[in-house]
Amino acid sequence: MKKIIINPVTRSNSPFVVEVTVSEGKVVDTKCSCQFFRGFELILQNRDPRDACYLTERVCGICSSAHGMAAAFALENAAGVRPPYNGNILRNLILGADLLQNHIRHFYFLSLSDYVKGPDLPPFVPSYKKDFRLSKKANEAMLQNYYEALEIGRLAHELMALLGAKAPFPHSILAGGSTVAPTVDVIIDFYYKLKKINDFIQNKMIPDVHTLAETYADYFEIGNRNANMLDFGLFPKDEHDRERYFPAGLALEGRVQEVDLKPIKEDLSYSWYADKGVPQDPYTEETVPDREKDGAYSWVKAPRYNGKAVEGGPLARSWIRGDYRRGVSVMDRIMARVLETELVGRLMEGWLEELRPGEPVFKPFAIPQEAEGAGLTGAMRGPLGHWLRIEKGKIAHYQIITPTAWNMSPQDATGQPGPMEEALLGTPVADANEPVEISRLVRSFDPCSACATHIIIPGAPVREFIICV
């Protein structure tokens, strides 16, 4: 038995910790946990409900627009307002651009260093030395695409700036719509930048993921788990939001069904919060941090759907849509992410054509004095939910459940591990000094602890506690 601790796991949006126990070359026990705590929901209390759009974007630098979108949906839900026709499309385009940025940067910048040897120059060195399987020529070609992807990822954020003012943390995703008038100069600029990105995806990224999948084909057999997956739906088709381009759905053992919010409960058995012994409802639960709790090991709570640990992300969305159902593994997650990038890029070209210059983009509305609302969307990494309660015109309660909270959740009362932990069990580890299998597996989830570790319910006292062991 050997214990391997990777602290920090770098090349994720924010570092986190993975601890595995290896016996006879395979992972037999695992704990994934996070290292920092900010208490974002506590900070949001008593602020102007409109400010939540901009403030919650600050939860995460790489998926800021998804938080803006969820916050906008929550306030629209509470205030009973819908964006104008253009407003919906513009918001989709901003979030779409951010998603392209995220997926391109994740594939090349964050995860490719696990498979491709970099140049002999910091910060590429030091690095692991083993299991780089590409030929020298193929490695060099992929590296050139890595450099080009740096430019393309940057360009995707320029798209976001065109319609959203700046990136990250765009200003133009608001409850009530968006703010930049879709005039022809903006549309044509956006279109030709988008086209460059789509050309790159088509001609470089898609071939690269196939090269990777062929060279590292064994990773279709690593990181497996049952197809238990969830998404809240991404990109409303119109301003009424009756349908989304990526529909909400739940896959249990691979079978897709409708999502209901009631079965979502959070289990606190192994999280550093006082536990009432039964899973809690996110609408009403009260959370009291308790770092001394016996057996607990993570700040992340364990959200469960009808008691099931479900994972989110591009693979979940593709599975629910029916686009990709080959399997659930490290390489399937990567493949689905790249294919989703291509699809979203193409959808965005269509949305541009649907814009109606001259028509309104924003609908003013009054902030209700007392109201409740939920904002649910697919985000880069999976299902994202913001829950909001307004009292006396101010935020009285704000709750965020992020994709990484689903993916990186700890065990629950029944001993069921979180999706990432479940995927890690049984993973072969050839060399405990260079546990590349672990690195590749956890990064296939595109984890983001910045998103996962702020879960706290306003009103509960925050005690002294420690973040990580």
């Binding site: 900010r38 409109r50 630098g61 703010t179 930049v180 983009v361 706290i456």
Partner: protein, 375 residues
């Protein structure tokens, strides 16, 4: 900023008088290339937004930055190494290049529970806190640069009630820290500050240790829509193409060059151009005192005179200048704005000069007299 004298001294050092520009230009560049400054980019309690902003730099792009400008040794967002292999780089740099490297910090430094609210790795089997890392690495660094508003001033993660007792870098280090605020910091502000350090040394800093090159003037004074303000034409809500003052713009009290520079690397847009208010994200007061984001700066009510944007918007341009100028200055007289915001209106700064030459000054004087009489 570099003075003309210093600039020519730098040039004279590097070449003869003939063909001076071409030769010196390249020698500066190659000097930079040869002696790339070792850099540690330490993410503490952060969302990695400034790491992303670094990647959003156009010229130079990330590839040129790491090969031509700096020797980026530690960068959690992009380095292949992980676990002890990555944090080992911190100890190696500290041991090998003390007094030479630049420490860049992104994020607040939580101080609660001795810093255990943010742990950046393991050291000899124990948690290596961000607080320890910043203090140890900061003490031996040649320069310390706080990138982003969190590291510079506390920002959103240190907002009320500051659950992690997060602090700005300069609050935990007993030395000068160059602050490059912004949420995120603009790619040009980050790369520009680094280039200044590499080529010319420390840039000119203001009283908040921000490079005056980027933070020397208010958004309001640089704003393309300033004439709408002066003419009293206001947007009532986001999405309208006029002055965003009434929709909550904090441009009058925010020091940054966004209107000239624009976002991101390609300089395409910025919040007011996108018909939204500036939220003052570079300010030491962000976000607690620049909120509510969509409400305008506080109104002022005095005997016989009530001035606010709603009223002045209805009258002529001259009255507008009187009204709003008067209201802001009167707010300062009454101590309504946080102390740090007053900076924007102290007579030594450009912000006030416009007021001094307009009828607003007359109103200010009358308000002052009125207040004196009352006392």
């Amino acid at each position: 900023m570099i003075s003309r004298n210093k600039f020519s001294r730098v040039f004279q050092k590097h070449g003869s008088h003939s063909g001076v520009t071409a030769r010196l230009g390249t020698s500066l560049l190659s000097k930079g290339k040869r002696n790339r400054l070792p850099v540690i980019w330490l993410g503490t309690n952060t969302c990695a937004g400034d790491s992303i902003s670094l990647l959003n730099s156009l010229d130079p792009g990330y590839r040129a930055i790491i090969s031509d400008l700096i020797d980026l040794r530690y960068y959690h967002f992009g380095m292949p190494a992980e676990g002890d292999k990555s944090t080992g780089v911190l100890e190696d740099t500290l041991a090998e290049r003390p007094g030479e490297y630049v420490l860049i910090v992104e994020g607040t430094i939580p101080t609660r529970s001795n810093g255990l609210y943010c742990v950046i790795g393991n050291r000899r089997g124990k948690p290596f806190t961000a607080l320890d890392a910043v203090q140890e690495l900061g003490a031996a660094a040649r320069y310390v640069v706080a990138v982003g508003t969190c590291a510079s001033f506390g920002g959103p993660y240190a907002a009320h009630p500051n659950p992690s007792d997060g602090k700005a870098v300069h609050k935990v280090l007993d030395r000068q820290v160059i602050n490059v605020p912004g949420c995120p910091a603009h790619p040009d502000w980050i790369v520009g500050t680094l280039a200044h350090l590499v080529w010319y040394g420390e840039p000119e800093l203001d009283e908040y240790n921000r490079p005056t090159l980027f933070y020397g003037e208010t958004i309001h004074n640089l704003c393309q829509r300033r004439h709408y303000f002066d003419s009293g034409i206001f947007s009532a809500h986001p999405g309208e193409p006029w002055c965003m003052y009434k929709a909550g713009c904090k441009g009058p009290v925010t020091f940054a060059d966004c209107p000239y520079r624009q976002w991101n690397g390609e300089h395409l847009n910025w919040p007011v151009k996108a018909n939204t208010p500036c939220i003052g994200c570079v300010s030491p007061e962000f976000p607690d005192h620049t909120e509510p984001f969509f409400e305008h700066l506080p109104d002022i009510h005095l005997p016989q005179v009530t001035v606010n944007a709603n009223r002045v918007g209805a009258v002529t341009g001259v009255l507008t200048a009187i009204g709003i100028g008067g209201h802001l200055v009167a707010s300062i007289i009454k101590g309504r704005l946080p102390k740090t915001l007053k900076k924007g209106f102290s007579p030594a700064k450009p912000g006030i000069e416009i007021l001094q030459t307009t009828p607003a000054q007359i109103l200010v004087d009358s308000i002052k007299k009125m207040l004196k009489k009352k006392r």
